[in-house]
């Protein structure tokens, strides 16, 4: 019908020429084109990804390469000195004239020519030479124009030691009781491998005796002393008739204390002598090492943590050293002012503190959000509370630290001390930074995150569900408890994940309220009451700061910064994965089976 009513020529003209040209000429708004915006958004995402992935990659590469054993190189410089060690860093720089001028006369021209051939640039190596007690330095910079000769000695050995850092040298022999029993490197290496496990075992025994046995003796004595102190205080407060009874109690406590002291002192001496014998035994064996100035130095096995002939290692042996170092890193305590050894106490402290914080912040935040969303009548006050919460999320974390120190440690803590731990004063128990106060401070810090996230999920629970419950005759609380909370739980967990990630990575406030460089004891141990919330603790974030910026041997600590960062990120990822797994399970249970 349509075709018949119009003549064939005219409408065709209109559609092709007139309409067609009109469409081309007409101005078209930029926003109606899709592609520039697509590029813009894609570009933004790309930039973000590059930054995030770049940072993670840097940490991953630097962090995971720290423990890989490297070859030991020996540089012979033109001034006749030798340097033995591992190359930790390489960089290109432009040496000044004076630096070349310091070379011996004969080599100056050669060096100048060498530099000229490289357009004035020189490559220099940072060599970790160790042997701090001999050279007073851990590192040497060596530029390529100084080098006369580069070798990789077959029996170059690196010893990681309990103290003084690493020792680099060439294996020269084995000592027993000060006498050299062999000078053959193969034989020496064999003897070392034979004797070392025994030494390690004894060292563990010494550690056990010093830390646990002596520690428990000390704590028993301390308890008795506190009892005496308590009775003294009781006596002071007592009046009239009760004075006599108190006096008697005090005398009993003093007697008990002195008899215990006597008994413990005997035990103490016993343990001490056992430690001494063990120590003497570990000192019997030693390896002889030739250092770069030609002298031969004995290194007692007692001081050694690990050692290997770096230039002879195959791929598998390197892997085993690498694995061994990771194991130490994850499971042992730090040594050498945190720049070597493990970070186990820090891992432990971080995880315990984060879990404790989640335990505090989630109920608090969720209940607050429930009140705001379900009970509070919308109005000026509720809006003000919401704005305040959002502002709280923007407060610098150090402010929370200051608040925690002032309110928790000094106000609450000293009150608790005065009420319950009077006998221990003037030594503070809760009146100083500790695990509990850190967890509470971080809970406060992450509270806005949890409240805001929870409130959003609560708002997302369909009203039809609430009405369904009310229509069944459920009360408000029954509706919230049986319908709203289960339905919102996965989302609430998401908020907790965010809070945990934020809390676990926070350092600044912790420095004020309880994280320390080196905690003598873990917050959870075998002594009653097992969980010691008042103890200060180590934290990975603080550990990174401490190792990176407060360390004596900062160059050696640098790789540890990356490794510890990697570890911290991994721990946060693991905590998150657990929470995500939980969330998905809940999601499947309460919301939908398709995830």
């Amino acid at each position: 019908m349509y075709v018949e009513t119009v003549t064939p020529e005219q409408p065709q003209k209109i559609t092709t020429s007139q309409h067609g040209s009109k469409a081309v000429k007409r101005f078209v708004a930029l926003s109606s084109y899709g592609s520039p915006y697509l590029w813009l958004m894609g570009g933004m995402l790309g930039i973000s990804l590059v930054m995030i992935v770049g940072l993670l990659l840097l940490i991953l590469v630097m962090g995971s390469s720290t423990f890989w054993p490297q070859k030991i190189v020996q540089f012979e410089t033109v001034d006749g000195k030798r340097h033995l060690g591992e190359i930790t860093r390489t960089e290109t720089y432009k040496p000044s004239n004076e630096q070349v001028g310091e070379l011996p006369e004969a080599y100056r021209n050669k060096a100048r020519q060498f530099l000229e051939s490289q357009e004035g640039f020189s490559k220099r190596y940072l060599v970790r030479t160790g042997n701090y007690e001999l050279t007073n330095t851990h590192f040497h910079w060596i530029s390529d124009f100084q080098i006369q000769n580069t070798t990789y000695p077959e029996w170059a050995f690196v010893w990681e030691r309990v103290s003084w850092g690493r020792f680099y040298g060439i294996l020269k022999g084995f000592q027993v009781d000060g006498k050299t029993v062999t000078e053959d490197p193969w034989e020496t290496y064999r003897l070392f491998q034979e004797q070392f496990p025994g030494v390690q075992k004894k060292r563990k025994q010494i550690y056990h005796l010093e830390k646990e046995v002596l520690g428990s003796l000390n704590s028993r004595l301390e308890k008795a002393r506190l009892k005496v102190r308590e009775k003294e205080l009781n006596l002071k407060k007592a009046t009239g008739e009760s004075r006599e009874a108190r006096q008697r109690e005090l005398q009993e406590a003093i007697d008990a204390y002195s008899s215990l002291k006597e008994k413990l002192e005997a035990e103490y001496g016993n343990v001490r002598s056992r430690i001494e014998t063990l120590k003497a035994e570990t000192k019997r064996h030693g390896v002889l090492m030739q250092v770069t100035d030609g002298s031969v130095v004995p290194v007692p096995l007692a001081t050694i943590v690990r050692g290997y002939p770096a230039n002879q290692l195959g791929w598998l042996e390197k892997l085993s050293v690498y694995w061994d170092r990771w194991k130490e890193f994850l499971l042992e305590e730090p040594r050498e002012a945190n720049s070597e050894g493990g970070v186990f106490p820090a891992i432990f402290g971080t995880v315990v503190m984060t879990l404790l914080m989640s335990l505090v912040v989630s109920p608090l935040g969720v209940i607050a959000a429930l009140y705001l969303r379900e009970y509070a009548r919308a109005g000026v006050l509720v809006s003000a509370v919401r704005i305040a919460l959002n502002n709280l999320a923007g407060v610098p974390s150090i402010v929370f630290g200051v608040f925690g120190l002032g309110f928790f440690c000094y106000f609450l803590g000293t009150s608790i001390d005065r009420l319950f731990f009077e006998a221990r004063l003037p030594n503070p128990t809760f009146g100083t930074g500790g695990l509990l106060w850190s967890a509470l401070t971080l809970a406060l810090l992450t509270l806005p995150v949890v409240i805001v996230a929870s409130e959003e999920v609560l708002a997302a629970v369909p009203n039809s569900m609430r009405e369904g419950a009310y229509a069944c005759g459920a009360s408000k609380w029954q509706t919230i408890q049986r319908i709203v909370i289960p339905r919102a739980l996965p989302g609430i967990l998401t908020g907790m994940i965010l809070a945990m990630a934020r809390g676990a990575g926070e350092v600044a406030p912790l420095m004020l309220v309880g994280a320390v460089k080196l905690a003598p004891e873990l917050p959870i141990d075998g002594n009653f009451p097992f969980i010691h919330l008042e103890r200060s603790f180590m934290h990975l974030g603080f550990h990174i700061y401490d190792v990176g910026f407060q360390s004596q041997n900062s160059e050696a600590a640098k790789p540890m910064v990356f490794t510890t960062t990697l570890l911290l990120i991994l721990i946060i990822v693991i905590l998150n994965l657990v929470a995500i797994y939980l969330r998905n399970r809940l999601y499947r249970k309460f919301i939908s089976r398709e995830v």
Partner: protein
């Protein structure tokens, strides 16, 4: 809205004078010119024991807007009563007023009262929670709770604190059979209710609504979000429930009302216009407005 509904004069080109006339009548109502609703004698002279719900001069305001105007009607026992009318006429509001769900909305005021088997619903001393337990409700969109099928059905008992497994099991089976869902879900009672299809979810909601043996079953367009097959199933179910339960159903599907209900009330602009046995209302309506609506001239 009222401005749009000025009485139509001759200047507008109305082809059908009949439409013009009926629109004029509707506009009269809209402007608040009181009009006696046409109520069929079959539902005016009911004895007390034949009536489940008695609505007396009920008006309702959302803030300053009045949405229900002095509605009076009796819902007979054991019958299906349908509320029909165009969107926004207040039929859902009336339904939600029966179990006082409107209380949850801020700024709602009412006047008048309703009686559920003789007990006042809006008297100040009424315990709303106890009151709601005497009714069942099925919402427009299926709203199963985030829990298992079993727990969904026995929810009204659970909130009463009933823990006896035997009672719960029995009620669950009886309600699911009553909702014609038992055979489909009996093997997966512990699965999430949210995994069911939309039609099954709605029948589950009906099972939940009848679990506590309600005195009246309120249904708010129970089939409007379902596909035709699921709708047919739900309709069949309502058909089965007729006689056993008193059902008050809101629908804007006139065929559905005609198929399902014993009595039909036509509402418009917050007023009850006509209330009669379904057969009479659809075949020989008293008022022009009703006739125009059911013939599809407006709405």
């Amino acid at each position: 809205m009222l401005q749009k509904l000025e009485p139509v004069d001759g200047r507008r080109n109305m082809k059908d004078p009949k439409i013009q006339e009926s629109v004029n009548a509707i506009v009269r109502v809209a402007h608040g010119m009181e009009m006696e609703p046409a109520i069929h004698p079959a539902v005016t002279h009911l004895k007390d024991n034949e009536v489940v719900l008695r609505i007396k001069e009920f008006s309702l305001w959302y803030g300053k807007t009045q949405t229900l105007f002095r509605i009076s009607m009796d819902i007979p026992k054991g019958k299906v009563t349908a509320l029909i009318g165009p969107s926004g006429c207040g039929k859902s509001t009336l339904l939600r007023s029966v179990n006082r769900l409107n209380d949850l909305i801020d700024g709602v005021r009412i006047s008048g009262d309703m009686l559920l088997n003789g007990d006042s619903i809006y008297a100040p001393e009424v315990d709303v929670i106890e009151l709601r337990k005497r009714m069942g409700m099925v919402a427009q969109k299926p709203n199963p709770f985030p829990m298992s099928i079993y727990e969904n059905v026995v929810f009204p008992l659970r909130i009463d604190g009933i823990r006896d497994r035997r009672i719960l099991d029995e009620v669950c089976e009886r309600s699911l059979r009553g909702a014609a869902l038992w055979d489909e879900v009996k093997d997966r009672l512990q699965d999430s209710a949210l995994a069911l299809s939309g039609g099954q979810q709605q029948r589950l909601c009906i099972a939940r609504a009848i679990a506590a043996d309600p005195e009246v079953l309120l249904m708010d367009e129970p089939a409007s979000s379902l596909d035709p097959i699921a709708t047919a199933k739900v309709e069949e179910l309502i058909h089965q429930l007729r006689g056993e339960y008193t059902i008050l159903i809101v629908t804007h599907n006139m065929q559905q009302a005609a198929r399902l209900s014993d009595f039909t009330a036509f509402m418009y602009m917050g007023r009850l216009i006509e209330y009669a046995p379904t057969g009479i209302l659809f075949v020989k309506p008293q008022l022009k407005e009703t006739e125009d609506y059911i013939l599809g001239r407006f709405g």
